[in-house]
Amino acid sequence: MKFRMRHADRIVGVFTLLAFVLLVGVIILMGANQRWFAKNYTYFAQFPTAGSVQPGTAIFHKGFQVGTIRRVSLNEAGSVDAEFSIQDSYYHLMRTHSLLELVTSPIGLGSQLLLHAGRSLEPLPEESYVPTADSAEGQDLIELELVDIPPKDDTITRLLSNVNPLLESTSKTVTTLNRTLTELNRALAGQSEGPLGDIITDASAAVARLPTTLDEINSLVVAARDSAVTLLDSANVIAGNLETMSASFADPTGLVTTLLDPKGSIATFLDDKDALYNRVMTMLLEAERSVRSLREISASLSAEMPKLAVVLEEGKTALVSAQDVLEGLKNNPLLKGGITEREEQDSLYSSMREGAFE
């Protein structure tokens, strides 16, 4: 009898028992892995439709499943109420400003429900309402950067998620630009009553007044320049005086020291019975006389200037002659041809000395 026939009962028993043990083991491991007996925290959310949100839909955070949709129902307002649970090991993600985001693949590879933790440190109590990224409240949270949204795993989704804000931003910018251009056009047309219109009107008036203003500025500049020259001359004179005065002050035997001495010239000057005054007057008269003589000499010199010119002309002629001599010497040291006779020509002017000795 074959071994298996003799021990058929044992073999079948082992075969059956082993299968049951393995099955129970797998079920236990499955229960432990799927947290059948672990505590979950319940929260609520609202979605526009239940198309991608069904009971059992997993909720992910950075690629890890952190919860599950438990129940969905259509409320009287027409939106879908969803009850979802978060595992206790991920309860710390449920903070104030946390939100849910339903991400749908653009190429039809299904959708994923993501949980984004709020940046607040305050924990979100159980059975609280969690907004979705599509809702107005969720948009506010995203714009205010109160929620931590990691970059998407899928490249296309990530690109598309970036495109939407860009398009919205571009649209806003274009709208603002249009509004600004319209306002600018109205302001340029003089139809605006706002601050820009006032500015444009003021600027136009200022431009109209600009030539007059420039003329005035030119006049002012010229006047200022003249005044500055005069002032500079005066300042130079004053500076010279100050310099002289400073030198006088610095000299211990100078005029000021002598004048300030009680036993000096001032006392003598005051008690000399006009002697000094007379002396000074005499000196002044003599000086006047000298100046007059000097003036006469100057006038005489002016009269003699033509004669001086003649002398200079003759000097020049002599120099030309000397140049010729030197040239002749240079060309022929033996003086073969000699020096050409030059006809003398009397000066048209008579010199002062010649006149004096006539």
Binding site: A19, L22, I27, Q34, D153
Partner: protein, 258 residues
């Protein structure tokens, strides 16, 4: 011609009703089997031995091959779409819910369905059934019920082993081709596996077991007196079992997803 069509319809209807009556009798006797502790218990043990234990090797090889193929294809193809996690869902669906029970049923049909049909047909040709009846032994209770219960139990157990070898044994095969981390694989697989998947596979195995054993027994008893009908009974048992198993699989799957 009309007479021949009518006769054929009557014959088919008669056979169908007979088959239903036979099935009802098998169910009735099966419910009494464990209470009466008949000698057919030994037949049950041998049936599990032949159908379950001896088919384990083929079952395991097929399970590991299919599991390894899914892992290799899934780990190469699905990351390109950013859907790596779907690999575990696909494995659970294919191995536990769909292909596992069906392929196990095909193995059992090929091995044990033909064996039961030809064995019972041989007993009919050899007048052994008449002998059992003549001594007061119900052939259904003694010959069919242990085979039906043994077949159902074997398919259920083989389905469990198919899942284990398909989901875990295939991992060992893949390590030789394309190594992946065991902890990640095991945790992801357990996360994807749901009790409903296991129950679905088990339910299909039970239904397939009932179908295969009943059809094989019926075809074995349905032959005439000629020994040349024995292989025909085996062929009919295999063909009908295949068709009915696939039909039942479709119905159960539709019931799950409808």
């Amino acid at each position: 011609m009309i007479e021949s069509i009518g006769a054929s319809v009557r014959d088919k209807a008669s056979r169908f009703l007979y088959a239903l009556a036979f099935f009802g009798r098998v169910v009735d006797r099966s419910l009494r089997f464990f209470r009466r502790r008949q000698v057919g218990y030994k037949v049950l043990v041998f049936q599990i031995l032949f159908t379950g234990v001896e088919a384990l090797l083929v079952n395991a090889v097929m399970a590991m091959a299919i599991g390894a193929a899914i892992i290799v294809i899934g780990s190469s193809l699905l990351p390109q779409f950013g859907q790596s996690r779907l690999m575990y869902d696909i494995m659970v669906i294919v191995i536990t819910k769909e292909l596992g029970p069906l392929l196990t049923a095909f193995i059992v049909i090929a091995r044990s369905g033909t064996a039961i049909a030809t064995e019972l047909a041989g007993m009919v040709v050899g007048h052994e059934i008449e002998a059992y009846i003549s001594v007061g032994v119900d052939p259904v209770s003694f010959l069919v019920v242990p085979r039906v219960i043994g077949m159902v139990a074997s398919l259920a157990l083989l389905s469990i082993y198919f899942n284990l070898f398909g989901l875990l044994g295939s991992f060992l095969v893949v390590q030789l081709i394309k190594p992946i981390a065991f902890a990640e694989y095991f945790q992801s697989l357990l996360a994807a596996l749901a009790p409903g998947d296991i129950l679905s596979g088990m339910a299909k195995s039970l239904v397939f077991g009932v179908i295969i054993s009943t059809v094989a027994s019926y075809q074995g008893f349905a032959i005439g007196r000629a020994s040349t009908e024995i292989p025909v009974a085996g062929i009919k048992a295999v063909g009908q079992s295949f068709v009915l198993c696939i039909f039942a699989d479709v119905l159960i799957t539709l019931a799950q997803y409808a």
